[in-house]
Amino acid sequence: MEVLTYLIPISLFLGGVGLVAFFWTMKTKQYDDPEGDRHRILRDDYDDKPKD
């Protein structure tokens, strides 16, 4: 059962990473256009440039 002392904190940490990643995607407005992004990724003339 000693293994739990590692496993539980690890599982909490990994879950926390997921949570923080979700917060980041929210903050950077990645859910504003799910419909469009779905089509954009398959587009030939993918022309999005990083923001300057």
Binding site: G16, F23, D33, P34, E35, G36, H39, R40
Partner: protein
């Protein structure tokens, strides 16, 4: 070394080719800061549309960037101040995409987004905590005992207590708001269940008890937040789009004072002031024309399709559109006194009547909330008596009852269906402004249509251009190009479409209120009103073409049918609805049109109050009316009807008064909307039935004291998931 010789070392050839942004700014110092323009694109649906629109927009000189949002069917453009939205709409129109301007400054998207983001954050926290606590709970259910179980409970508590406190805030706030006014809403039992579950679980954990409800509390918060979030998404997107449509029309007036014009708010005008109404502008006040001649389009006010002549001494009323020449108008009534505003007051009266509508969810909540409390209280009192005062046992059973009866699926039942149905309708170009509109749509049995601007485009289409000679057509085109009158513009478009080229007409000048005049091959040529060119007027909308002394020839116009109008009428009739046509137009025009589109019952020359009264009559006869209209004369009727739809081209007041806005040009989705409404109501009822069944099965277990946290979690998740899946069948 080769790289070092390059003055602009760059990673790729494209970057070399692309001009440096700072260069552009330096070269163009006069340019004001970039402006943000927003366009609504109701017709786009695929990857090809995104590329097509973005490419067309980026090809316009001055456009810095254009990005399409397919979800909102909207494009945002950053461009120099010289680029106008009208120009972009025109460009897109030529590229084959329907577009409408949106007021970028009125975008409250950031404000509504914040509430949505807040809910999503809480949802994420609830989900994260729930998953972790479930892992621990599963181990407990699987048989962890003694110290291990206690440790798992403590860990669960450490995760669950802060998570539930944070994630449940929307419910506590709403429950507190209701309690403060001595009322009960759905959020009261929810908050109570959450608080009691946490407190009891903490107590049990302290006493090394077997059961803790941390996971149940978290599941409850998670599923309820999911319902709240779906509900918010549906409302927020519809509301922001509706607001944008509204923000387009600001009631401004050009006031004339001592020979100078100044822009003022229409409400600030007083009787006796003089205002200038430019061609293309809307008359802001009720008044009398002092100088100028023009024609007025009154179709939005009265439903008349023919433009009306106006010159000095004629009365004009607010809301009419000036077509050809500038008019100076002396104000008789402004602001609240105008006929326009009096109609708006009619709307307020009618709307007050409709606010009493009880949605299915309201009715369910009102019946359910007391039941939940009473049952939990009953369980507590009953077990105190049976067990002879065992507080711990009784409280455990009461909390289990509270959790199991908690309206988890009920909170999802309606939002999940509304979200699915609204999404489906939005894809076909309909914007649901009011949450209960779908339910009301399902109840209608009579459909009332307005004619001008609703079943028709409100734009004329010339007929019989082929009967003119090539020369006449070329001259007509050349003359028509000299005017912004809607008939001229329609003529230009149709003639161009037929392949005509403008003739070399010189000295083209517009005579406001009468027509266009020019010289061609040594003769005076005229295009305009019958009496002006020397012809006898006909019954229908027409303009006349006179070449020199030759007999004038009429060019007759018909109002173009809105695409999908016939399909919509046919589909509604097939669905067994009674269909009426109500118009302010002349009896002859209405009868002819009704025959063409296949509507038997029609009312002509209806005044705004008549339309509303007729709808109230139908309502008192026990009918539920769907009103489809666009004009100011329809506004009161739209508000009086059980549910109402207006096209995006409608007057602001009409859109505000209606529950659903048709974003596209096509009318066919109206029939689809009624069908979707019926199916949505069916799904909502099924969902209520489903969650009731779960409760009926689970509540006896809870009351008898057999409910375990495991059973509670199972019942809750199963009912929530079934309800959501059932809603998804609508998509």
């Amino acid at each position: 070394m080769a790289l070092a010789e390059n003055p602009h070392p760059a990673a790729c050839p494209a970057c070399v080719a692309a001009p440096d942004m700072s260069d552009i700014r330096d070269r163009d110092p006069a340019r004001a800061g970039p402006v943000r323009l927003e366009l609504s694109l109701p017709g786009i649906h695929c990857a090809g549309c995104i590329s097509g629109v973005e490419r067309a927009l980026q090809a316009v000189p001055g456009v810095a960037s254009a990005r399409v949002n397919l979800t909102l069917k909207r494009a945002s453009i950053e461009a120099g101040a010289e680029v106008s939205a009208d120009r972009l709409v025109e460009v897109l129109d030529r590229a084959g995409y329907e577009a409408h301007e949106l007021d970028a400054t009125a975008l409250s998207a950031t404000g509504t987004d914040r509430a949505g983001r807040d809910l999503a954050m809480r949802l994420a926290v609830a989900f994260f905590a729930n998953m972790n606590v479930m892992l621990l709970s599963v181990s407990v259910w699987a048989g962890a005992a003694d110290a291990t179980r206690d440790m798992f409970h403590w860990l669960s508590g450490a995760i669950a207590i802060p998570a539930v406190i944070f994630a449940g805030v929307p419910f506590y706030r709403s429950a507190w708001g209701a309690l403060r006014r001595w009322r009960l809403n759905m959020d009261v039992p929810i908050s109570l269940a959450l608080v009691l579950a946490l407190a009891l679980s903490l107590w049990e954990t302290w006493l090394s008890g077997h059961h803790a409800y941390f996971d149940a509390a978290l599941s409850l918060v998670f599923f309820l937040l999911l319902g709240r979030y779906l509900d918010h998404r549906t409302r927020a997107s519809a509301r922001s789009a509706a607001e944008e449509l509204t923000a387009l029309e600001v009631p401004k007036a050009l006031k004339l004072e001592g020979g100078r014009e100044s822009e003022v708010h229409a409400a600030d005008l007083a009787p006796g002031d003089r205002v200038l109404v430019r061609p293309g502008g809307r008359v802001p006040v009720d008044g009398v024309v002092e100088t100028g001649t023009s024609e007025l389009d009154r179709s939005l006010m009265t439903g008349e399709s023919l433009p009306v002549f106006a010159s000095a001494g004629h009365e004009v009323s607010a809301g009419e559109v000036n077509l050809t020449g500038p008019l100076t108008v002396r104000v008789i009534a402004a602001g609240r006194e105008t006929s326009l505003h009096r109609i708006a007051d009619l709307v307020a009266v009618a709307e007050a009547g409709r606010a009493n509508y009880n949605s299915l969810a309201d009715r369910a909540a009102r019946a359910y909330a007391p039941v939940v409390h009473l049952m939990a209280l009953g369980a507590f009192v009953g077990w105190m008596w049976i067990s002879g005062g065992d507080m711990r046992l009784s409280l455990n059973i009461a909390v289990a009852t509270l959790i199991i009866t908690c309206p988890c699926a009920l909170g999802l039942a309606v939002p999940a269906v509304t979200a699915a149905a609204s999404g489906r309708l939005f894809r076909s170009g309909l914007l649901i402004k009011d949450g209960t509109a779908l339910e009301r749509l399902a109840e209608i049995d009579v459909v009332v249509f307005d004619k001008t601007g609703t079943l028709t485009m409100g734009a004329p289409l010339p007929e019989g251009l082929e009967s003119l000679s090539d020369e006449e057509r070329a001259v007509a085109l050349a003359l028509a190009e000299g005017s912004a009158h809607p008939l001229s513009r329609a003529l230009v478009e149709a003639a161009r479409h037929a392949g005509a080229e403008p003739a070399a007409v010189t000295e083209v000048r517009e005579v406001p209120g009468y027509g266009v005049e020019g010289r061609f091959a040594g003769r005076t040529v005229r295009l305009g009103r019958a009496d002006w060119v020397g012809a006898r007027p006909v019954e229908r909308t027409a303009t006349w073409l006179a070449l020199g002394e030759a007999d004038p020839k009429p060019i007759v116009f018909a109002d173009a049918l809105r695409p999908g109008a016939e399909e919509a009428v046919a589909a509604l009739r097939a669905a067994g609805k009674r269909i009426l046509l109500m118009s302010g137009d002349t009896a002859a025009a209405v009868a002819a049109f009704a025959g063409r589109i296949g509507i038997d019952e029609h009312v002509a020359e209806a005044l705004p109050a008549d339309k509303a009264a007729r709808i109230r009559d139908l309502t008192t006869e026990g009918h539920r009316v769907l009103m489809v209209g666009d004009g100011l004369n329809d506004t009161a009727a739209l508000a009086a009807a059980h549910v109402s739809i207006s096209p995006a081209s409608a007057l602001d007041a009409a859109r505000v008064a209606s529950d659903i806005v048709l974003l596209g040009r096509d009318l066919a989705p109206v029939a689809d909307a009624v069908d979707t409404g019926i199916r949505a109501r069916k799904r909502i009822k099924e969902n209520f039935a489903l969650s009731t069944v779960y409760n009926v099965v689970a509540v006896p277990f809870a009351l008898l004291g057999f409910a375990t946290p495991f059973l509670a979690a199972l019942a809750m998740s199963a009912s929530s998931v079934t309800v959501s899946l059932n809603a998804l069948r609508l998509r």
